[in-house]
Amino acid sequence: MNTPTLRRRSLGLLLVTGLGLTVAACGESTDDGAGEGGKVAITVNGQPPKTQPFERKIFDEDVAEFERTHKNIDIQPREGFMDPKTFSTKLAGGQLEDVYYVFLTDPANLISRKQAADVTDYVKDVPHYDEIQPTLKEIFTRDGKVYGLPTANYSMGLLYNRKLFTEAGLDPDSPPSTWEEVREAAKKITALGNNKIGFAEYSKNNQGGWHYTSWLYSVGGNVAKQDGDKWVADFNNDKGKQVAQYLHDMRWADNTMGSKQLLVIEDVQRMMGAGQLGMYLAAPDNVPALVNQFKGDYANYGLAPMPGGNGTLIGGEGYMLNPKATPEKIKAGLQWISWKYLNPDRMESDLKRYADQKQPIGLPASPPAGASDIWTGPLREQQATLKTKYATVPVENYQPFVDGLADLDKKIEPPNAQQVYAALDNVMQGVLTNKDANIDDLLAAAETKVNAALAQVK
């Protein structure tokens, strides 16, 4: 009968499945990094994508150079920076790089969640560690323990279109330094007509909240303050109202901000690149983006310090280490970070190779790593001299920014920044899209949400 066949077939099916399962189970990926002959292999991210060919080439050259001078370390680069969407997956799946990029808003949460390695014992071997700006180092420290290194820093300022300024009868070398002057300039530029807008602001994807914070700092206000060991919201007051009212007036009374709102970075950059926008708040790293991605021209852009003269928001980036990394990997990782991003000895060669390729040097920002504003003291001066020496962009366009920076109070982002910004987004959206917005209500509602977000800060 067919019983033997039946049995054979079904057993066969089960056997194959069983085999398949076993084979798959053996295909587990483990990464213990013990390469051949005592070499330490570490994965690092921060590699620029192929759509940025120059940056990519520089990065790959650096990897090769580092491996040549550190024969016991093997660097395996990975593209990408920090994406909260993928961070957890990578960690869960054991694929998080040994050395991973962070924005300066990230360390606080990562440290609380124990998702970064404690490198206190190894940091003393990092050369020039003491000469890094203390505010930046603070961000990576908790209870005396260090969890990573800062590598770049930017401050917010006022980015303006020199050409439009000239056309509107304003002096491009004398940019607005108070908010009143910004308002006047915006009016004159909008008056040029032809769809030109004087001033633009973001109000979506947490970017509105981020800029609201910058404004607050510029008038000497704060988003949050510490009350004992808890954080509480600190913007539902005159200063917060002043900023909201000001924006509301520019939008509705002056009509200098355009009718399309709910903008994000790319929208505003596109307008600026197309010569349709007079001013917006930005960090210097926006300028290369305007030129490269949105077809702007270096000669047209100028940078002024944050109007108001009180303070500005700083942000930046750094690197932290995988909490599961072995001590050898941690040591190797710190060596890489220090050699590539925090290396005064390579400063000159770094700037030079950018200058040789006519890449922007002279902007008060990185890249290249050599131009990062993270040093204090003599190293900082050394950096300034070299930048002037190799400048490839009209440095004088940015002089006001650099000059003004020294006088501004540099404040870092509030804790749980992303959630706080999300709440503040609503204030921006309210004043920019609703002519009858009740600013007191908006601020009160945002305060509740911000307090809820701050309550989660451990």
Binding site: L11, L21, L91, Q115, N426
Partner: protein
Amino acid sequence: MSTTTALAPDADQRPARAPERHFTKLRRKVTDNLTAYGFLCAALVVFALFSWYPIVRGVLLSFQQVNFVSAAEWVGWDNFETLFADPLFGIAWRNTLLFTGLALVVGFVIPFAVALVLNELRHMKGYFRVVVYLPVMLPPVVVAILWKWFYDPGPGLFNSILRTVGLPPLSWLNSADTSMLSLVLVATWASMGSATLIYLAALQTIPGDLYEAAELDGANLWQRLRHVTIPQTRFVLLIMMLMQIVATMQVFTEPYVMTGGGPEDSTVTVLLLLYRYAFTYNDFGTASAMSLLLFLALGAFSALYLRLTRTKG
């Protein structure tokens, strides 16, 4: 098995041959079962790994905090407390209920009305069926991006049309008052095709004699509608309503692509908040707590829907 009785008509002979036949029967049963499980094993593995395991894990995670470095930590009701303390939690539920309610009014009544009208028409039915269903076939992202452009308060198509006919432009997605309604319009446009056609099919099963009888009794159009059409389609209407409630409570693509939750959190839905907790704040425990609450809210509707379809189907 009928074969055994056929082969053993004589009672005296049965005991001598019974053990042998028993054994064959047992062997066949075992092989039959093995075969069946052979057919089932792939599905069992897939369900176990990607359906049943996630269900259990999801419930457990609601009471844990994970960081993927060390073992998961039990935190009791903490995640739920975080949720209830978050003002956005209440806002998300309110917005979602608003969306579902609006969607029921717009997206439930309109397809039924359209189906009624279509059922009466005698010509070009094929054209109508194709045309109303076409948007359903488009990827939701395509619809969302297209309508986002339509809604653009500056150069967008809708405001251009309004301005041309002399009407004032609307803010559509840019104002907290009109944003949710704008999303409902998009969602309805994209999905009403299937509802309309299902109603149409249901309407066509109504026996014509019922209408004739009603007419003979002197019923006018409205009365025929109320006393014949609606009762006859009550079942379909009910299950479609349940299905719609369950589906619209899970709305994600439109708010995510078109507004990101704004303006002023007016389009933050339950699923958008869940996504934020999991993939922006990387707080999987709280996100799971949110999922559990969503399940509890919808479970009742889904269970009712299933019971109704299975008893009738």
